[in-house]
Amino acid sequence: MAKIKPRVKAPKSVAAGEVFTVKTLINHTMESGQRKGKDGNKIPRQILHTFDVTYNGAQVMTATQHGAISANPYVEFQMKVNESGTLTMKWLDDDGSTYETSKDIAVG
């Protein structure tokens, strides 16, 4: 697999309590375990099974993904905050790897 690089689009600053949209994308084959290789055997499953979003340590959203989530998983969600801080996103791979990125958001 190519180097895993998450991409996140979130506003740099928002008003307290204002709902905003966060768009996330991460490149990953999300091998479902259903595909057959050239030898006719099923390619083992390897997906990003969990996508965890926290803001200043508090849980925002946690997604549990299964094989039916498309490759290069895209997740868009909405949230609000009341104070400045850091939005942290973590992806957990079946193979034990963790991918993480964060975005600072200013409230004022």
């Binding site: 259903q34 803001y55 925002v60 959203m61 299964h66 039916a68 997740v75 868009e76 909405q78």
Partner: protein, 140 residues
């Protein structure tokens, strides 16, 4: 109300799609229901209060955009009743999140997508959409 030709086509297409769906519960529909029952802890769900957006026709079953929104929900589960495995994803929302999500999923063929939302009071609401798939998305 006079229907435009576009509306008439869309209406005809919807009727044709629904008539193509199997009328009796198949093994996969049962699997989808079982998966949802795991999410609800055995409780039933009532249709309504959940908005599930999915295309009527998906040109590529490998990546079908969907969105679910359920005001007041604390969690949402999505299943597909014709895929090899019914579970698509589950989302749990904290206090800062709005109860909605958009993502992209794989559909192996024409089938129904069901979203069930767990409400703050412990009840469950649902919505379903039929999606016609032209090229299946399971690598086959």
């Amino acid at each position: 109300m006079k229907l435009s030709r576009r509306d008439t086509l869309a209406l005809g297409g919807a009727v044709a799609t629904i008539s193509l769906l199997p009328l009796r519960a198949s093994a996969t529909t049962e699997a989808a229901t079982a998966s949802l029952k795991e999410f609800t802890g055995g409780a039933d769900w009532a249709e309504g209060g959940v908005e599930l957006t999915a295309p009527e026709i998906a040109e590529n079953g490998n990546t079908v955009p969907i969105a679910v929104s359920a005001p007041g929900a604390v969690a949402i589960a999505i299943v597909a009743d014709g895929n090899p495995n019914p579970g698509v994803a589950e989302y749990a929302f904290g206090e800062l999140a709005e109860p909605m999500v958009a993502t992209r999923m794989r559909l192996s063929g024409t089938q129904g997508i069901i979203a069930v939302a767990k409400m703050a009071d412990g009840s469950f609401k649902s919505a379903s959409r039929a999606v016609k798939v032209t090229i299946g998305g399971c690598g086959g």
